[in-house]
């Protein structure tokens, strides 16, 4: 089975305190720690496990720039057979639809039985996978948390629905699936593994190689645009305890007891 996994490099929210820049039109990006978008890593692991069972190849691709190459290398160190950089000045500033349009161009240059994306990117909208499928006219399923390959060009998949229940479906290949975290246990990648793939060439595809009309992607085609960032008050805000640790502990215990929690 030929599997394409679409991956993205994103700021890691569990590692960063996100701050606004002084102009308020973006977040402060200088000191951000970046990593692979978490569900995308699960998607690559799932692809590797499928190929281990039924044979085939895993290709990881990203629409990005030079800086994003590190996530391709990381996933190649995990075991992906090929890495592909999809990059062009004409692509910059694309919205979700633009990214999906670019990925469609890439998919049509090759032959893939199965395309995986993550459920959602850290600063994304859970949209690229579903849009890509609709553009390709492939079946789609979101929030996938198990995949079984059947004979005859089909899969049985489960989708995560409310309360941790699973919706079982049969789906025809080729198709696009968006992968939910927790579907597997992604293997560990060490520095050594990354060094081993450091010299493998990563081909780059641009707009003309993909036969894309520059008017359909990038800034010129944007329909959804961020205007500014701000910090919103979501609720009334907690009373922050400013005492010493001992004082805070006493206060917490007092509150737990008062609310009927200590018996």
């Amino acid at each position: 089975m030929e599997i394409l996994v679409c991956v993205r490099r994103v700021p890691d929210t569990s590692e960063n305190e996100i701050q606004l820049n002084s102009a308020g039109n973006d977040i402060e990006r200088d000191e951000l720690v970046y990593s692979i978008n978490e569900p995308d890593n699960y998607a690559v692991e799932e692809a590797l496990q499928i190929v281990a069972r039924v044979g085939g190849n895993v290709t990881v691709a990203t629409v990005g720039s030079e800086d994003d190459e590190e996530v391709l290398r990381r996933e190649m160190a995990m075991g992906a057979n090929h890495g592909v950089m999809i990059s062009d000045e004409a692509f910059s500033g694309s919205d979700g639809r633009g990214i999906a349009t670019i990925l469609k161009g890439f998919v049509e240059k090759g032959h893939y039985d199965l395309i995986l994306t993550g459920v959602q990117a850290e600063d994304g909208g859970a949209q690229v996978g579903g849009m890509l499928a609709a553009l390709l006219d492939y079946p789609f399923a979101s929030l996938v948390n198990s995949i079984e390959v059947l004979d005859g060009g089909k899969l049985t998949i489960s989708r995560e629905i409310e309360g941790g229940n699973r919706e079982m479906n049969e789906i025809d290949l080729p198709c696009v699936l968006s992968i939910q975290t927790g579907i597997n246990e992604p293997r560990y990648v060490g520095m050594r593994g990354i060094r081993q793939v450091a010299s493998i060439p990563i081909p780059t595809f641009g707009a003309s190689a993909l036969g894309l009309d520059p008017g359909t992607v990038g800034r010129v085609a944007v329909r959804v645009k961020r205007v500014d960032y701000f910090v919103a008050a979501l609720g009334k805000g907690a009373e922050i305890l400013h005492g010493s640790r001992e004082e805070n502990i006493d206060k917490v215990l007092e509150l737990v007891a008062a609310k009927g929690g200590l018996k």
Binding site: T13, S14, E17, E122, D123, G125, A126, Q127, V128, G130, M131, A133, A134, L135, Y138, P139, F140, L143, T156, R159, I161, G163, G164, N165, R166, E167, M168, N169, E170, C175, T181, E185, R223, V224, K225, R226, V227, Y229, F230, V231, A232, A233, L234, G235, G237, A238, E239, I240, L241, R245, N248, I249, V252, L253, L255, V256, K259, G260, G261, L262
Partner: protein, 330 residues
């Protein structure tokens, strides 16, 4: 102004809470709008759901087809594309079904897509200005969406809750559009729903939950929370990453894709406060948050917050509870 439709999620004849929230969101897009509810399904369940909407929607479009008895997103999309006028604004809830349907629907409607909207700032010229949250809710952004060819908008569950209540008088009633759908086939077929396993501890039964998130950092540290829970007579629950990492069983997960809990006291330890997590906490428990990041969104919804390292705070708290217990026992 484009015509606004709200896709109504329903099950067993009962309409989802999102129905009223979408009506509220529609009014925020256009105060004069009279949004149309659109429902797909089959049989008595569909009729019951349509009738239940007469208080919140003036007009209800019913799309009945046996193939739509279970809401398979691909089939629903094909049915909607047949009947929705081009240029429409279509609202859906941002949950497992909306996430499945909406992106592809926007492609087939040739319209703009924006997801997980938490507020509507208004319409400016040909643009709709909405509010989204990014980076785990640490910052918000105003986003402009081109409405010139219509839009598909998914709305965060609960975000428009406080705006409910405007009751409309049923004028249009239920309009049957079923004959416009035609035959439906899909490359994806629903088989069955498998319910979640029960697990060893029923976290829904406890008055106090010591809930841990990614901030617990490694599996070995779960014991720190368990010790506190034991001292308090509480149970340990958790956020999703703790389950994804296989540090705790799925049955301990609180949130939209986990359990719904209603404790008296909820101690959120190393949990950032995502909406999917908060969706599982009901009944307004007293919420105490312990987080080392003073900007963590959980502090905006908690009653009391402590900015500290939970790996140091929790063991000391456990010691103090045990000390107190010994004193009272004497």
């Amino acid at each position: 102004m484009a015509r606004i439709f709200a896709y109504i999620v329903h099950k067993g004849g009962v309409v989802d809470d999102s129905a009223v929230e979408l009506a509220a969101a529609a009014r925020k897009i256009d105060a004069a709008a009279s949004p149309t509810a659109i429902l797909t399904g089959w049989g008595a369940d569909l009729d019951a759901a349509c009738n239940a909407l007469s208080a919140s929607y003036a007009e209800v479009w019913k799309l009945a087809n046996e193939a739509l008895a279970y809401p398979n997103a691909e089939l629903v999309r094909k049915a909607l594309v047949k009947v929705l006028p081009s240029g429409s604004i279509v609202l859906l809830p941002h949950q497992h079904f909306g996430m499945d349907l909406a992106p592809g629907l926007s492609i087939k409607m040739k319209s703009t897509f924006v997801s997980d909207v938490v507020d509507i700032a208004g319409v400016e010229g040909a643009d709709l200005k909405v509010v989204r949250q990014e980076f785990g809710g640490q910052v918000s952004a105003h986003v402009r969406c081109d409405l010139s060819s219509g839009a598909v908008v998914t709305v965060r569950p609960g975000a428009f809750k406080s705006l409910e209540g405007a009751v409309v008088s049923g004028v249009g009633g239920v309009i049957d559009k079923s004959s416009d759908i035609g035959a439906l086939t899909a490359g994806r077929r629903y088989l069955e729903t498998v319910t979640a396993e029960a697990g060893d501890v029923d976290i829904t039964r406890y008055n106090v939950l010591v809930s841990i998130g990614r901030g617990i950092q490694e599996k070995e540290n779960v014991a720190i929370a368990q010790e506190l829970a034991d001292a308090l007579g509480a149970a340990v629950s958790c956020s999703r990453p703790v389950v994804d990492a296989k540090w705790m069983e799925k049955s301990r997960q609180v949130g939209s894709s986990g359990k719904t809990v209603k404790p008296k006291v909820y101690l959120a330890c190393g949990i950032s406060g995502s909406f999917q997590h908060l969706a599982g906490i009901k009944g307004s428990p007293f919420l105490i948050a312990i987080n080392k990041n003073p900007k963590a969104p959980i502090f905006q919804v908690a009653d009391v917050g402590i900015v500290d390292d939970l790996l140091e705070f929790l063991p000391e708290l456990s010691n103090r509870v045990r000390e107190m217990r010994t004193v009272t026992a004497k």
